[in-house]
Symmetry: D2
């Protein structure tokens, strides 16, 4: 397990956690390799009632409306919809969609090749071979397209509340949540974080975000997958450093990220049931070669 | 529970199973109403090892390649991908997708309003109010967007083999499979059918398909959701009659359909484990107002 | 030349001008048939300096921007643009566009089949045969795709000013403009109308529009093509009657319409040169089977 | 007027024609600056009968067809069309298009920023400032969006025939055509070249192409715009050198290119009329910020 270096704004070298090489030079699964048979069995044991909660933000598509009296602005939805003419007379309704993957209001799974480290992608493959106009050939959604199952653990960092503006999330926040909730995240588990910040575009906001130490904690604890309503801070906590979740967690640790998760419903159910672990089922449309894909993660109790 | 009428080619009136009105005049969930707490608990009890199998056909997107030496034909993939220029120099890869929902090679969930009965959609709402260029306002994916969980039962109609060309599937096929497999489909379960026909376009093929009696069997048995590699026959079994799955099952019974499911992997695992029931988790991207949506159904053992 | 009937709100039958059958039952060119060799020569004689003026509204495309900090609304532009990743390292820039033809801010040419008369399109062909999900098979842009040239005549109905809100344009407006400008529109000419209303969405506006009598004047005078910043009124002048330009001019007379033309620059040049006729060159992208197509009409002096 | 250097495969430095700086550091029109009032008047004088010929390849769009029995491949057309559902009952037909600009079968105008010289675009602006995911901010179609008019001169390099496979076009070809046709290309004229090679994808073909000397000839003669059925050779004539038309003509000389022009009809009319010059009207949809745009150039006689 190599580590790779960066520098602080003061010019001091710092170590960044990395899994480049840990599972071979061609690996495309990253920390999903931590989900062993034993982890899956632990996840299965969480299922009792069959109650499920969605971790996805509802998306209202923007229509391709035209005609002389169409509106002059539209929501920048991740999905645009053209209802299609199927026949005359019409006996069925169908549609064509235009989907913008990496959208701030779309709950989506980032593929490992989405973010580069210089001219390489995880775990050290050249970008020039991995990405072309014909799609992503390495580090794409292909690796995750048959679905991911593991135990999920919710850490609610601000129960019934919201993290303060610009709050830098540290290991202390995680440790406190584990203590408060009486839960312990094990290697191979998915970490679900709630900070009380609904996914939204960030104009004028000071969104809280992960610190490098928070990501180091994930590395140490063996997080297989990250999902949350807290991502990388905006504005950045320290512009001299790589973005902790995307440039370190995703690109160096190979830890898939679910951006823009909706976790308030989950937190309510966890509080009601007094448990914060569950089976997490992640089943994006089985599309190969993408840099990311919309997903509707389900927590199953 | 009303029934609605059609006529045979000989002009004789026939009864078609219908749930219009059964769950109220505004219902959008159809047979998903059959998934009670008890059904979900039965589904949960199926989960032991956490092993999961995808029921989705892998999709290889077609790139928007241009330039002087681009190919002159392309696969008619359900997904087209434009890799996008994010910045210069480039530090991340992203993409925009164009998605055709109702595609023969896309595993997708049909919404109840997809198919009309005259100028109405389930359960009797006018098309003119339900569908517009701004999307589907009734009978859309909104009803399913938070995910569907229930017990799934696989009926493999042709183990290690393929149904004959043009085979009309009848209740006898289902009863024989239940006996052979030692499984019984209960009300609220999802029915997964394998006929050994990989999803594909049908040029020159005589694809097998459901008969009206097969759909009546589903109605009687309380199927909540249908998925399979067998759909409506092509060419039609009897052009004078409505298409059994789409015009009766979906449009009249309000039974959501997963078209173009990939069930060979599932059949292999069921055979290996010697059981044909499991937790079925259906979690399409949480997009409202569509007539259908790509999905990656997971069978969890 | 048949005429077809409608009724006033008082229930009185009225005659509508029509060219159905005038140039045969399969005609797709409509009033462009009026552009004879003689008309073209008259148009050619207008060309002296080679100065050209565009009659198109500039379109600023909306980008498919994503990422965590994308804006939450966007302009409803007729064109959306995805800049594409061409290679790494990047040596060229390219893009993919999504185009909404019939958009209030897009200068576009309507094809004759765009608007139906009951279940028929000009000149009496069934919609069911003319339109399918595979495109327009009759009355499409195919007929115009090699370009249209004729003499254009600008009638400026409100020089240096704007027609009043909701003004119903009548033959008197045209006659007055001809007198004022010393120009006479001849059969086969294109009519360009300026009312001083920039194309825009119409929320809360009372846009002026053509009356049925204005369209009858065009019929009498042999207008081959209509372009203007005035279209059908909004709100409608008389909801009981067909929309004069689109339901009568386009659908019954077979007169192609250029919606949302930008004519202020043209009016300024005409005033400067003290002539209101010119060669009009209309050269949309040569795409077949569309219901309309963006166009950049040039007035050449 | 600077020149910029490259090297032959033997390592010898070579001069490349360039207009970087010739019209200022912010210029976006390139050789269109050569179209003076005098040139336009000369162009206007070519117009006599008003007869027009399109230089665009007809495009048959590919439909977004879905449903169980859709075809499994489709033509890689530059335009894809979704016929849209406008209302129920349906009273009009409309469509949404997806357009791939730089397509081998689409007659399109390349903007000056389309091809980079290292990390700069014409006339020396940094790519990082000129191109973003929000579009092209310098060297885009904005410069040409109001249309281009000039005199066009057709040089038919292989009358009633086809250039040999892989033929390297040189100044001799141009000089011979001028002599044969009795025409002389003047500064500011558009050069239209016919080699008898219909636009098509090039699998297995040895398409003829321009040499660096041919492009130097264009530079010397003051060509304002290039269009033709001959582009850069494929395979390249000399892989060590920059592509003559795209990397030198477009990117260094700032000479806009119309790729994939259809010139057989034009050649036939020129032969019939025994003249090879005409008014060339280029009027792409008036869309700003693109790297290229479909166009239907008209030769007007």
């Amino acid at each position: 397990m190599r580590t790779r270096e960066a520098e602080t704004s003061a010019g001091e070298p710092i170590d960044l956690p990395s899994n480049w090489g840990r599972w071979g030079d061609d690996d495309e699964r990253g920390t999903l390799n931590l989900i062993t048979e034993e982890v899956r069995a632990r996840a299965a044991a969480e299922v009792r009632s069959g109650r499920a909660v969605s971790l996805a933000v509802p998306i209202q598509p923007t229509p391709f409306i035209s005609g002389p009296f169409a509106p002059s602005t539209s929501d920048a939805s991740p999905v645009q919809q053209a209802m299609v003419f199927t026949a005359y007379p019409t006996t069925a309704a169908a549609d064509v969609l235009v989907v913008t993957n990496h959208h701030p209001c779309s709950t989506h799974l980032d593929a490992l090749g989405h973010v580069f480290v210089g001219d390489q992608v995880y775990p050290g493959r050249p970008v020039s071979e991995s990405m072309s106009q014909a799609g992503a050939h390495h580090g794409s959604t292909t690796a995750f397209a048959a679905g991911v199952l593991t135990r999920g653990v919710l850490l609610d960092l601000a129960p019934n509340s919201q993290l303060p503006d610009g709050h830098p999330v540290t290991p202390d926040d995680f440790d406190a949540a584990e203590d408060r909730q009486g839960v312990h995240l094990e290697p191979g588990d998915a970490l679900i974080v709630r900070g009380g910040w609904p996914p939204a575009s960030a104009i004028g906001q000071q969104r809280p975000g992960m610190t490098l130490d928070a990501v180091r904690w994930m590395h140490r604890r063996g997080v297989s997958l990250y999902a949350g309503d807290i991502g990388d801070a905006h504005p950045e906590l320290d512009p001299a450093l790589p973005a902790p979740l995307h440039e370190v967690g995703l690109a160096r640790m190979g830890m898939p990220l679910i951006d823009a998760a909706h976790v308030d419903d989950l937190a309510a159910v966890c509080a009601e049931l007094r448990r914060h672990s569950f089976l997490l089922a992640v089943a994006p449309p089985r599309v190969h070669g993408l840099t990311g894909v919309p997903v509707n993660p389900l927590a199953i109790f």
